[in-house]
Amino acid sequence: MQFLDNLFLNISQVIRNLVGGFLPDWGVEVVMMTVAAAVLVVIAVVTMMFLTWMERKVVGRIQDRLGPNRVGPFGLMQPIADMVKMFIKEDITPREANRWVYNLGPIVVVPPAILALAVIPFGRGLSGADLSIGWLYLAAVASTSVIGIFMAGWGSRNKYALLGAMRAAAQIVSYEIPQVLSVVGVILIAGSLSMQRIVEAQNVWFVFLQPVAFIIFLIASVAEIERSPFDLPEAESEIIAGYHTEYSGLKFGMFFLAEYISTFAVSAIGATMFLGGWRGPVLPGWIWFLAKTYLLVFVVLWLRGTLPRIRVDQLMNFAWKVLVPLALANLLVAGLIAAIINPAETPGFWTFIGFLLGNLLLIAAVVMVGVLRAPEMEASEAAVVGAKGALAGQ
């Protein structure tokens, strides 16, 4: 087990010794970093291919179908067949489109998704770069993905694409606020922004200390990567495919690459921040990490198989009127409890009890507000539906 746990570190040591023979020190460093970066990129692409298969299989099962099962055992070769198809498919650039922006869109959209993998700890001491500002880096990189999406929607000069891009921009910026706010509680307990340090601080998984934050993070992350039920920017039934309506072949594939890598990345971040990352008994760390990450990926797919798409006004209201106040309240509770019991010095059990009590109080308060405001909410919902009905009647 010790050997398996250190497998990747040992491999890197072997490569280091191999190149160390005929290169100066800085040369060895550059070679090592390039190898690590290339391995991460390969992991990203393979993960994307696996996820397309997994999504079709899982959603197929949820919808009482078999999913892909013709190409290779269990349909596992399906992603390769798809890739071949995308590479040899004719590419169409609409006459009206702004050629530069249109063609740059798919190129700009991919790197932010891949870059998120740089700081994710796959195991003990096993991350591309252990930045001291790890989470801040992730938030910064993730928020640039909207630029590529907007370039695609704007450059296409297609009404559906532009609508999708506008929705995507509004949605991504709105849900970024609850996402970054929900993590503040975790950082407060861990006392660090570094992903490795956050994992090391989790003697008790943070999902038990910050359950409300975990739920906010999960919802906001699903909205950030535009997956159902928050897939309004690419709603097939109303705006065809949103910002990638006009794209075909591998350019279309690039948007899918970005989307699936982001799905993996946010699941990995969730597993690292709230589920203890690579920590776990007996099995090697990287197996624990992958198991927890794929558990969250499964939850995301499960949500897609279960929930209907929501309306755009519901989407924005939910972000600003439910998630943001809830995230602020959660931060307040976390700060108060951390002031009473210092989590760095109190034993795990008492920290757990303290934060659990705080979160239960918070949930009780939310339920009370919900019950008190229910008639008001119903009235406003009825008004919206009534207005829609009046419009339809015209």
């Binding site: 290339a38 004719e90 503040v184 509680g185 002031a339």
Partner: protein
């Protein structure tokens, strides 16, 4: 420390090369037969009608403004959270003031109907 950022630099270059390399290979492999109708803008089978690059709904700008305010304030929350356990009572008082500022901003936006999607 510097090594970590050097890695990010190399990683960015390699990440950027993925779409460029992929699209270049696809460019070599794929057929190129453009046509007048094939290259038309897609719009449910009809000729596209009117101007596409219209003025945005003003609502989007308001959300963008609120986003900028909140995002910057959240960034300021991070150093505070990292140092929380070392600062003691000061951090607690500071937190109340800071969250009060955020809540007042949110309430103001809420009351002035900036958060209504119309």
């Amino acid at each position: 420390m510097l090594r970590d950022y050097a890695f990010i630099l190399i990683f960015s270059a390699i990440a950027l090369s993925v779409p460029i390399l992929g699209l270049s290979i696809a460019w070599l492999l794929r057929p190129k037969k453009p046509g007048k109708i094939k290259n038309a803008t897609y719009e449910c089978g009809l000729e596209t009608f009117g101007e596409t690059w219209v003025q945005f709904k003003v609502q989007y700008y308001i959300y963008a403004l609120i986003f900028v305010i909140f995002d910057i304030e959240t960034v300021f929350l991070y150093p505070w959270a990292v140092a929380y356990n070392k600062l003691g009572l000061f951090a607690l008082v500071e937190m109340f003031i800071f969250i009060a500022i955020l809540v007042v901003g949110l309430l103001y936006a809420w009351r002035t109907d900036a958060l209504e999607w119309v």
